[in-house]
Symmetry: C2
Subunit: 586 residues, 2 copies
């Protein structure tokens, strides 16, 4: 037996007991003839005392311990004279009577503390040491707890977790597939799933009725800061449901998680917003609703006063930042620079200050009189002391810019507390997105999404205006997940493929098995998928999903700890009937 107790559980009631603890040396303090060691494990920290008056050899041995040594200590629980109220074991200490070094440790390349001196790259290379830090480990404990509660909720609702295959068929639609050469079928390849979408629909055809899976998915994309080539989805599907059934079920899931994991009780239904409203009021299909500052449209009020910038603009929109009328020239310049950054791309920013004393100042007072500016303020409910910030240009583009500005102002005003959670359903997404470059429609969600029944007659006549029966769950400006009611009619599915420019042959090659399945009695069905990594990072109050993944990859898709990917043996290549052909110039 290596231990009688963990380093997190001894209390004042244990005083007098003889215990054995094992763990890592967090800290050593030598004070005259006494040496204090903080012993750490996953469960906590317990103070050990080595007294040279009691046992000089043991005291000497303790003095030779180093940081991160793994030790086993026998001793007696004693009440501390100076208690530490910051840790649950702070009332006691262990008077050591025996010490065994189970393993030594080199000096770690960075400190094993919540706040470490290690840079990102170093911590990733030594991820096994990084994971010793409480702040990192707690994220993975949260992840475990969430996965468990998700399963508990869905199981209680009759969902079956079914594992779908990882080695599937490549369907070059959307993102790139990772592929796997098949040794037994030379020249052929499996693909890793971007999602189990078709399989979960097949399970509905199979009558599984309620399916879920917490499952790894794969996308071979150029990795932005917060993408990973492998990521985890909470994938769900239900039969004999309409949109309302799905929303109710998964609103219930999100509330269950908040309640049992964060002890936060959402008693009211989550608000719902149409995609059109979300774009109009927030310039985003995933608005951060922790704060207001909705867009105010000013086009009609700004036109015809000789200011060509506004006159020529398709759209003029503003936000009202409360209490910011005292912003300095420098602060306003900073905001202008912010919106003019290439990632945002605005040409410029206009402002109106509604001063506390009732006066009005503006960057465009050359073109607009005080009354006109006041009318703008009235439309935006601006109060004395508020600042109005205005952008103009092409509608969708300007809305996106204004969205960034709004978020920036929210951050500056401290309105985006990561531990304050605002959940929202965005509904009535468009079914199609028009792509100017390729001059065709793309499915906004995916090609299996059902049109809104009210809009089916517009499929040919007004394709772009057709709404989908699709929905997203948005939390704090993040898309937590989304889904749709699926097409369960083979003919309608066929029509969708045609509208998306897929020939009958292509559709048959790529999705033939699904089309065939639909001939044998497919039930009405729908579902959704949550991004599990994102879900965890939101509850952890973190910006990046990398911090909630045990062994993440970097932006080049590399795991620097194990040094993958790597070259493989020629004999392996030969068995797989493939050759590496590097481009001539690199």
């Amino acid at each position: 037996m290596f231990r009688t107790n963990t380093c997190g559980e001894l209390r004042i009631s244990n005083v007098g007991s003889t215990v054995i603890l094992a763990g890592w040396v967090q800290r050593i303090r030598k004070m005259g003839g006494m040496t204090f060691v903080d012993l750490r494990d996953r469960y906590g920290i317990t103070q050990l005392v080595f007294n040279s008056d009691v046992n000089a050899d043991l005291h000497e041995a303790a003095n030779h311990l180093g940081r991160e040594f793994v030790i086993q200590v026998t001793g007696t629980v004693a009440e501390r004279s100076s208690k530490n109220s910051n840790i649950p074991t702070g009332d006691i200490e262990i008077i050591a009577s025996d010490l065994k070094v189970l393993n030594r440790s080199d000096v770690p390349p960075f400190t094993i503390e919540d706040e470490t001196d290690g840079g990102d790259d170093l911590r990733m290379r030594y991820r096994y040491l990084d994971l010793r830090r409480g702040s990192v480990r707690r994220n993975l404990e949260l992840r475990h707890r969430m996965a468990f509660e998700i399963r508990r909720y869905l199981d209680s609702k009759g969902f079956l977790e079914v594992e779908t295959p990882v080695l599937i068929k490549s369907t070059p639609e959307g993102a790139r597939d990772f592929v796997v050469p098949s040794r037994m079928n030379p020249g052929e390849f499996y693909a890793l799933p971007q999602s189990p979408q078709t399989f979960k629909q097949l399970l509905m055809v199979s009558g599984f009725d309620r399916y879920f899976q917490i499952v790894k998915c794969f996308r071979d994309e150029d990795l932005r800061a917060d993408r990973q080539p492998e990521f985890t989805q909470i994938d769900c599907e239900m039969s004999f449901v309409e949109q309302e059934d799905v929303l109710q079920m998964f609103e219930g899931l999100v509330k269950h998680i908040f309640k049992y994991v964060k002890d936060i009780d959402f008693t009211e239904p989550f608000p719902r917003m149409t995609w059109a409203d979300a774009m109009r009021l927030y310039g985003s299909d995933k608005p951060d609703t922790r704060f207001g500052m909705e867009f105010v449209e000013l086009k009609d009020l700004t036109v015809g006063k000789g200011f060509s910038v506004m006159d020529d603009a398709e759209y003029v929109g503003a936000i009202v930042a409360p209490g910011c009328a005292d912003y300095t020239r420098k602060q306003l310049d900073q905001l202008t620079d912010f919106v003019k950054r290439s990632q945002i791309g605005a040409k410029g920013m206009m402002w109106v200050k509604f001063e506390a004393d009732g006066s009005v100042k503006s960057s465009v007072s050359k073109f607009y009189g005080e009354d006109e500016l006041r009318a703008w303020g009235e439309r935006g409910n601006a109060k004395p002391g508020d600042l109005m910030l205005i952008l103009c240009g092409q509608t969708m583009r300007t809305r996106k810019q204004l969205c960034e500005l709004r978020l920036e102002m929210g951050s500056r005003l401290g309105l985006r507390d990561p531990q304050n959670f605002s959940c929202l359903w965005v509904v009535d997404f468009p079914l199609f997105e028009w792509d100017d470059e390729t001059q065709r429609y793309y499915a906004m969600h995916h090609p299996f999404t059902s049109p809104n029944p009210e809009d089916i007659d517009k499929l040919d006549s007004d394709t772009g205006a057709v709404r989908a029966t699709a929905y997203d769950m948005v939390v704090n400006g993040n898309e937590l997940g989304g889904g749709s009611i699926r097409i369960h009619d083979a003919k309608l599915q066929d029509k969708m493929f045609r509208l998306l420019g897929l020939s009958e042959e292509d559709a048959q090659y790529k999705f033939g098995f699904l089309m065939n399945a639909f001939k044998f009695g497919a039930p009405p069905h729908g579902g959704l998928a949550f991004g599990f990594d994102r879900f965890v990072s939101i509850l952890a109050g973190l910006d990046s999903i990398r911090d909630v993944i045990a062994f993440p990859k970097n932006n080049s898709g590399r795991d620097t700890m194990i040094d993958a990917p790597s070259r493989i043996d020629d004999s392996q290549l030969q068995e797989l009937c493939i050759d590496v052909v590097l481009p001539e110039e690199k």
Copy 2:
């Protein structure tokens, strides 16, 4: 709303209620002016009644339904005049007042019944229809329930489920890796994990203390009847443990599963058997202990009587088949043919009949007198009426043959009831296996397994005799899982690699990250992994794991439903910097 109730929940207490049901048409019976439809969903079957006297149009519509049509029916719950006690809804029927066809169905290629007329290949190509069969679906329901209970148990014991990466590094040791070309790192490949072994050990170095994961693993092997290229493991690891701690913990898990999933209470500790005893008594490291028939060694009793077959044999072993003395010549010939099959490879079989009347007959009575044969019987505790079957030859080979014969006799005697469960720990495995062909030792478990501390001084002097701290859980003759206490000392690990013929350079290249991790305070740790597919199939009483996998692959690694693997576009190959090079002649 598509339904008020499922097809499995209405009872006599619901009589009089108006309900809406939705599901699949299982069966239609027309009896004069009445048409009866069995409506099926995941939850059960409910009888619908269409009466032409009540509603002629509706009755007519019902007569046009076909098997597997998806329909929605409104009606009133009524008590049946002739009740069906075979199904929980058998007391009631629905008097239909409205019928809506939600989807039509082609005639399915095989019957959707527990016993179907569809062959294996057909059922796999239409797996989505095969999964509609209750007998198949129940396996996956069992799988879900087991996964849930495994997580519930391990969570209650403080285990954290941590997802380890799927895109890792190829380490050509043991079975072949599946590999994944990296587009972002041309010429380099990821590998899919054969197990998360090194990652779970790293998590122990990280102080995670108790880890588990229900996780897909991958092996590119030539597929025997019951192997799959992707399979699922219950992967577990604990820190600060000795073998006894691990056995206790996971014996608890297995008992928990039997209790909460099968309602079987194992109150006694599982028996334990050394590997040496298992080989001696059963000729297998995974003995089927549902029945006795242990091996009896007869070498000393058979030698020197002029029968060269036995005299020349290194080993003479027998089993005593109770009550089989009346086996006919034909039955004995069948058994001889059985052991002479090329898969088993015995040269022949000898027998002794201890007749009920006290007489003794034998195939070797030419060489052995009745007293000698009786002495054999005494050693094997043969009773009047029993049959002794004898094989001889090289020790290990003959034991394996005798093992097959024992299992065959167990089956013939009905001693291997799939719903009778016998669990066993096999312990004290050898650390190494000698391979004659390559003239070197291989790790019997894997290179991270710790030697038994008592045998460490024999590592150089008597390598083959060193026992591992390794253990297997065996149920009904199947290896359910196995594991070991791991080496946590970098020097000992290094020595192991040397004994396994891995140079320092090789070891560093393949496992350098683990070796490096061990320098920073690795705790003593150990664990095990269960084969989840096998675990489910055993509890389902099935021989094959294929029946407990939703979308399995065939023996060529193909999914015939989705037709994977398949060719991929040249542009995909180009992006991945690889070429297909098919062998000239095929």
